[in-house]
């Protein structure tokens, strides 16, 4: 159907779709409702990797013992999304497919080196999360493909997550950062560039023994924040640098 009858917009929890509908910015008129596909809601360990179905809701992520054990920073991110109603409806696949640079789970998946599993009528393909986005709100997903799950290999190191929203809850991120601190640090930042940023140069420098101050300088070169109605580029830069130091610190708040 996706292939033969022209584009359909996949919809699940509709927590982003309805916002666009309400603003009159939703141009599409044909939708494919995935909500009842319970098979895509499974959270399990498969071949050593954590596999999370695309339709797992934020509430599912928060409650899943597997997620809490293997990827606690994802549970942390999910618990800071919207309010309870949004968490009950919004899905991980939706957060990723919506492709907002402010998506709260995106830095987590980027830092975790997740794999996006896409399935089309013909075949299944696996795309590294870091190659999933091609630009502002653009992804490699083809119109005849659905995101079906995410796979995350075991992670070594301390997982840290911090969202800086416009208030304590029900807020969109101004800066959102996920860090895996350890011998080979991994750092990802959202809301500071057209897509989520995986800070590989900063990571490499840290792995090679660079100081936190040096890492902060490098990280600022890897992001490109802007002024918008929620914050300023300058704020995002300073807070990104400050958060890096905080999240790398042995005991972080």
């Amino acid at each position: 159907m996706l292939r033969d009858e022209g584009p359909l917009v996949p919809m699940a929890g509709c927590t982003d779709l309805y916002v666009a509908l309400n603003f009159g910015t939703l141009t599409e008129t044909r939708f494919l409702d995935l909500w009842r596909l319970d098979a895509l809601r499974t959270i399990a360990i498969r071949e050593g990797a954590l596999s999370i179905g695309a339709l797992a809701t934020h509430t599912d992520l928060i409650r899943s013992p597997l997620v809490r054990r293997r990827l606690p920073m994802l549970a942390a991110a999910a618990s800071e999304i919207g309010g309870v109603q949004i968490q009950n409806r919004g899905t991980l696949g939706g957060n990723v497919a919506n492709a907002s640079p402010a998506g709260d789970t995106l830095p987590v998946l980027a830092a975790a080196d997740a794999t996006v599993v896409l399935r089309g009528a013909g075949a299944t393909r696996r795309v590294p999360f870091s190659s999933f986005y091609t630009g502002y709100r653009r992804t490699v997903r083809r119109p005849d493909e659905l995101i079906v799950s995410f796979e995350i290999a075991p992670i070594r190191g301390r997982q840290r997550f911090r969202k800086v929203g416009t208030r304590a809850a029900q807020a969109i991120s101004k800066v959102v950062m996920a860090v895996i601190a350890g011998e080979t640090p991994r750092i990802a930042v959202g809301s500071v560039a057209p897509t989520v940023v995986r800070a590989r140069r900063t990571e490499a420098a840290l792995a090679a023994g660079a100081s936190v101050a040096e890492a902060q300088r490098l990280l600022l070169d890897e992001i490109a924040p802007i002024d918008d109605i929620r914050s300023t580029a300058e704020y995002r830069r300073r807070v990104t640098a400050n958060l890096l130091a905080r999240l790398l610190a042995p005991r972080s708040a």
Binding site: T166, A168, S231, T232, L243
Partner: protein, 728 residues
Amino acid sequence: MSSRARKAVGRNVLRKEGHDKVTGAARYIDDLTFPGLLHARTIRSTIPAGEIVKVRFKGDRAGFTLVDHHDIPGRNIVALIDEDQPCLAERKIRHVAEPILLLVHEDREKLRAADVQIEYRPSTPNYDPERSAITFKKIAIDKGDLDAGFAAADVIVEGEYRTGLQEQLYIETNGVIAVPGSSVAGAAGGITVYGSMQCPYYVHRALVILLGLPAGKVRVIQTETGGGFGGKEEYPSMMAGHAALAALKTGRPVKLVYDRVEDMLATTKRHPSIVRHRTGVTRDGRLTAIDIDAVLDGGAYATLSAVVLSRGMIHAAGPYRCDHIRIRGRATMTNTPPNGAFRGFGAPQTQFAAEVHMDRIAERLGLDPVRVREINALRPGDTTATGQRLGKDSSALQVLREAVTRTGFRKRRRALAGTNRGIGLSLFFHGSGFTGAGEVKLAAKASLALTHKGARIHVASTEIGQGTRTMLAQIVADALGVRYDDVDVNAADTGEVPDSGPTVASRTCMIVGRILERCAEEMRARLGRLTPRQYLRAFGPLVITKQYERPAGMVWDDTVYKGDAYGSYGWGCDVVEVEVDRDTYEVRPTAFTTVHEIGKAIHPMLAVGQIEGGSAQGLGYAILEDVVMRDGRMANATLTNYIIPTSLDTPPMQVVLLENPYPHGPSGAKGVGEMPIDGPAPAVINALRHAGFDLREIPATPERVMLTSSVESTQRTPRTPRKSQAWV
């Protein structure tokens, strides 16, 4: 009559409309429909300044009715104070979102999809209230001899303080329905307007003038209203006009309900302010001279700016004694949507400046913030800036001391020094009722009708969530000597109730409540030993109507702004603790205590609810709420991006009520609705100062705190230094 009835005043009785609201039975404007109902959509300007050249409707016009200024049978104004604002723009555009025409159709979807294009000849807009060519109103208050006051000073402290726009964000957006041909008399050619509103008689008067109809052919009925905060004081007059014009043109009922974006883009907000203080003070902390200059940004039309300015200026010196005061204020025009009424009405802006300035004075003198306030707080017998001699119910010192004791303020201040946390306080007051001779001019009336069991209240004062019906019924029940449940409240319907004035200015309890209390006292005397049922059987219907009476000795001269500005004042003191995240510059209030002296709490739970809600709204004003204007248009007109506090952003609140009765209020009550929003902003900024962040402007967003912290260790300068003067 027996007086066995248990006293209602002072007790937390059930709200009159509580059951309907909780069960969902209450019907708000968008729940209502009428046979043959049409919907209206407002076509608005997209430029801030210029002229309309051409209006083009594109596409199929079938089923559409267009309404523009040519359809106005009376005068094309929104009648309020000045007559500068058209109900529908004719040629000139003065702000973005100015209504130009209405589209009417039975199908909301078709209405939404309709394409109307407007061609303009733009002109250059002005957004700076200090450079405006148009001043809506100027106010001057003078007391004593300013030069002598400064001559007596050891130290002069100056400062400039700024506050931003704030959106009321009532939970129910604005909406009205106009129904033709169903006026009071049922006569043809009349109009009935239902709507979410605070002031049915404001709407009534505006409709009479706009439609050129006799008063008897216009009827306005308030529907259950989901909040107002001042935001439904004047705007419903314009909307009612729009819907009425459409209804009269089509001959069918017309519904006009805004969605949240339109409501935020188009309707009034709190006036931004720039307030400059120059204060003379002795070394031991006594104020000798206060010199204040203030500008309010009125937006594109005058609306209520003159009276917002008035209240702002009367409160500008704060609750302090000083013999030599000069206050100069003006409200000017800019090319932004008109600013209007919002809880506090000018006083939150000016008392923000006064209270932040007071902490800077204390800092300069090396006194603690409590001491400098203790020395200067207004006491009974003192005179205010307008020369009003205060009565025994003046409680500035009492609320201050109570708040300081309750919070262990001085000890906490020492304990938090040098950390990323701070504690601050603010002392404030708020006049109840209309300013000056306002109540005399208004001459509010209220009626009480005897019923078989008790009485029915007839007032135009509206229930907007604050508890009007409940609180008025409590007052009447006790004065009449009947049970609370046996007093009911008529709908605020201009066809049935007298004009008790607008539901604004913290006046409903103190002013309208007192008129009703007098009605009930007289009714009780008339009943004598008879029960209501016996009286009605013997003598027939009994309706008592009373009018506002000025308390003896109350004098006001509007020409020189001297005298008794308000019948009475409420007094408040807030203490707030904040924590600043050193990495993200986020300001989190962690503890909040407020002491309010309000004469008498008619319904303590409702009074505390007003204080908690107003304080939360004040904390939002202080820290979060930032209307982002771009090219004269609100750029963040959504609930996603206009940030008000959630429960997680609101600290635990300790509310302390004190009662020093006002002799002319019902059971001694004063106003309470507005005062809670006066205190939080300066208390937060003073707490931030204690934590090492020198802000002179709200909201204290993380972005602003970050910039402040960058100069924190060097010279303390304001964020936006002015060219000609060095503000220390």
